[in-house]
Amino acid sequence: MSLDLLLVGLAGVLTAAAPVLFGVIGETISERAGVINLSMNGTILLTAMGGFAIALSTGNVVLGFLGGMIIGGLIALLVAFASITLRQSQVAVGFVLALLCRDLSYFLGNPIMGSTGPRLSILPIPFLRDVPMLGALLFRQDIMTYLSFILIGLAWVFIFRTRPGLMLRGIGEKPSAAYVRGANVNRLRYIYTVVGGAIAGLAGPIYSLSVKAGWKGTISGLDGIGWIVLAITIFGGWNPFRAAFGAYLFSLLQWLGLVLQPALPGVPSQVLQVAPFPLMILTLLLVNIGNAEWVERTLARLPAPARRAVAKILRAMNATPPSAMGTPFEKE
């Protein structure tokens, strides 16, 4: 394979990772605040269909993206309302919404199925586009892919380097302490869940207006991505940079599956397309296993140098979820 082809392929990997990134960062923000938004699969499908429908009828791509943000925010608002105000299980509400929004997108999207509508155009950045290698890789993308690059850093700075970010971590980690410090825990959780949902709501339109332009109903190939987003969020350890690594890894593996297809004629394409998922589980296991009690006990029995080495690897892989994630906050 020539270098040019390789660069084009890798640039495609970055493009294809953009929607996953928006989903993962949105979910990370929501979970950092203590709310699991399990509706992601429905959110992505409904915003993909909705965003495309809006762009199709108005001829305006920007309105499609705005519509996606609004739909994503509203779904998240439902999760927040049912779990924070009504104190019902976040997981139950999110799961029902994941199925409901998926079916809703198929039903409402039926009339526009297969239509050709507007799509995002490539926006090469002057001068930078001509930088050898990097130009082809990074600077001949569309606007949402550029935004996805920026989003990673922006989210990291917000979460780890600003005061509101500290509060965000606080309400997900130790809500009672944050409350004593004067935070309105439930209001902040509402805000961050909706903001996270709105960010994730961009993922759908990125698919339907760019990466997999159009709406093709059940054969759009989008069903399941939301569940992957949830897995990558954990893999990312609620850290935007690690989450980005997960999203790019996933996208790369899917691309490799396509590229390697001719080399592996015995393996059906359907299998290669799902190949990243088993790997995802394995990494989930590695991410979590350091938290298990028996691992510590076994480690204690190892000789010191080996123990230190293994502990170091586990610590590098390990990620601890926000400790109040999934639990409602009660004032005492």
């Binding site: 029902v96 409901l100 079916d103 198929y106 039903f107 999207g109 393996v267 059906p268 359907q270």
Partner: protein
Amino acid sequence: MRSQRGSQSLNALLQGAAVVVALCLTTIVLLISKAPPISAYANIVIGAVGTWDEISNVLVSWVPLLLVTAGLILTFTVGLWNIGIEGQIILGAIFATWALRLLQSSGLPPGIIITAGILAGMVGGALWAMLAGALKAFGGVNEIFGGLGLNFVATALNLWLIFGPWKRPGVASMSGTEPFPHELWLPTLTAQSRLSPSAVVIAVIGILVVYFLIRGTYFGLRLKAVGKNASAAYLLGVPTWQYMMVAFALCGIFAGLAGAIQVTSVYNRLIPAISSGYGYMGLMVAMLVNYQAALAAPVALFFAALNVGSIQLPIVLRLDSSLAGVLQGTLVLLVIIGQGVRQRLTKGGPG
């Protein structure tokens, strides 16, 4: 006593309201897509109970849904969200197919081969469920995320088998593996029907077993104790993680049974979409009946009827058949919200 009766009637009122509001919301969805609501609903009803064929199709789809729901009630009772149920159905189907393939030319009586296939399916489902359980108990992987991942792995495995080692002679295709010979089909009501009376009996026994297990046994009591408060149950001497594993295994057995029945009586071969989404639908049914076995059978029947009834929508009214899912999802969502509203109302007032 008074207040309890009051809260019960409030409960019934809210449940009724949920059904009405769900229908209203679905009607709005229909109006948005410029479809005639009355004839859409009429089509679903006719599509579900219009002919004997359709009624028997409803029962065909009721069997796996009820089995899956029965298993899920056990995992919910112990406080687990077994979202990996889809994969457990698939593994049940794979194991059943495997056993049938191994034994089909063995010369054993067909009855024994079919029984072996169904038992193998139960083992397959249980193993896959215990894998999710082991990931949770020993790997610290939340059962929701472990289960989701395992669903994808099961799907991949299924596709690989259909397109690889078990492909049809000549050409592999999405239509599945080579159908089994007729004598290895679970006997059906009539030659054309896919409804097997023994499958219905198995499903009914399944839900009864779960009902009595939870209601009337020491085991069920301990399951409930773990589900209500795992750490308190642990302190009182209930081996918590063992109970979770057993609940997973039992649920896997039910899911595997559902998968094996799909293979032996409905499709008579392994197909890519063998689980048909029954696992996720079972989660919805279990939530809707508030994890009580008593109501599972009628509610699962209602869901099955909606699914079968909506199959005709694309042909007759050019509507997508996902309307059934919209109605089901709205209903479950409203029941959850209704529960929250009721808890607020009954807990409200002073203090």
